[in-house]
């Protein structure tokens, strides 16, 4: 769980040190105090969200987190996550639960799926944002700057989304297709 988070944070440009997973038993009050004090000092050092070198600005982070959240809920990502857990469990060997192995499995089996879903939601959010600002279309170049994706990746994704009928347009300008939401289309059919 923590490893997935860390790797996703690297993708969206959030410093993974902002997240901590620590253990303190019920009897370890003093240890807890020490952990919390150290952690708060660390966050103070890092500064507010999005202010750090190598971190994306706050608005971008917020949009990407929103996309990540949507991506995390997709069946594809959930399945990938479950499959890794199952695979490790089926070895019946506790020795496989090493940080290196888990990190490897997450990078190989969860992250590619997650990244793709994240990107697709990010593109949709970008287009929705552009629309709210009164901009009719977004070119592939603009989307590339906004999402930080490579051009091949983005081209593939855009054509897939266009095929699904969620967006329309071509390389020069993409926009959300009207009616944008599925609920809208359903109502039409009634």
């Amino acid at each position: 769980m923590a490893e997935t988070c860390r790797q996703v944070f690297n993708v969206i440009g959030l410093n993974a040190n902002r997240m901590a997973l620590e253990w303190a038993s019920a009897a370890e009050g003093p240890r807890f105090v020490e952990l919390i004090t150290k952690y708060v000092a660390r966050i103070r050092e890092l500064g507010p969200l999005g202010s750090l070198e190598g971190e994306a600005p706050k608005e971008v982070l917020e949009r990407r987190l929103e996309a990540a959240l949507k991506a995390a809920e997709t069946p594809k990502v959930r399945t990938a996550y479950g499959n890794v857990a199952k695979k490790l469990h089926e070895t019946r060997d506790f020795a496989v639960y090493t940080p290196e192995r888990i990190s490897q499995e997450v990078a190989d089996r969860i992250l590619p799926t997650f990244r793709q879903e994240l990107l697709s939601h990010d593109v949709l959010l970008c287009l929705a944002e552009a629309k709210d600002q009164g901009k009719k279309t977004c070119s592939s170049g603009e989307l590339m700057d906004l999402t930080g994706a490579s051009s091949e990746e983005l081209d593939k994704l855009l054509s897939a989304l266009a095929k699904k009928g969620v967006i329309e347009g071509e390389a020069a300008g993409w926009s959300l297709k009207e009616p944008a939401c599925a609920g809208h289309a359903d109502r039409k059919g009634e």
């Binding site: 769980m1 923590a2 997935t4 988070c5 996703v8 959030l14 902002r18 997240m19 901590a20 997973l21 620590e22 253990w23 303190a24 038993s25 019920a26 009897a27 370890e28 009050g29 003093p30 240890r31 807890f32 105090v33 952990l35 919390i36 004090t37 952690y39 708060v40 660390r42 966050i43 103070r44 050092e45 890092l46 500064g47 507010p48 969200l49 202010s51 750090l52 982070l61 917020e62 987190l65 929103e66 990540a68 959240l69 995390a72 809920e73």
Partner: protein
């Protein structure tokens, strides 16, 4: 780059049986610790999903601390 007067918003997910009890014990024993953590008690650390942490950051937390 420590900032003067920056009070981070930190979200804490604490296990009811471990960290939460430890925090309670620390309180009873009158230990001092920074008040920046807003605690959400969960019945077990295993309940926590990566969505919770993403959501925490999206809602504007500067850090998320999970204590088991």
């Amino acid at each position: 780059m420590t900032q003067e007067g920056f009070n981070p918003h930190i979200l804490g997910f604490f296990c009811h049986w471990c960290c939460y009890a430890a925090a309670d014990a620390a309180g009873v024993a009158r230990y001092q610790y920074p008040p920046n953590v807003r605690v959400i008690r969960v019945m077990c650390t295993g309940r926590i999903d990566f969505r919770f942490i993403l959501e925490g950051f999206r809602c504007g937390a500067d850090g998320v601390f999970t204590g088991g």
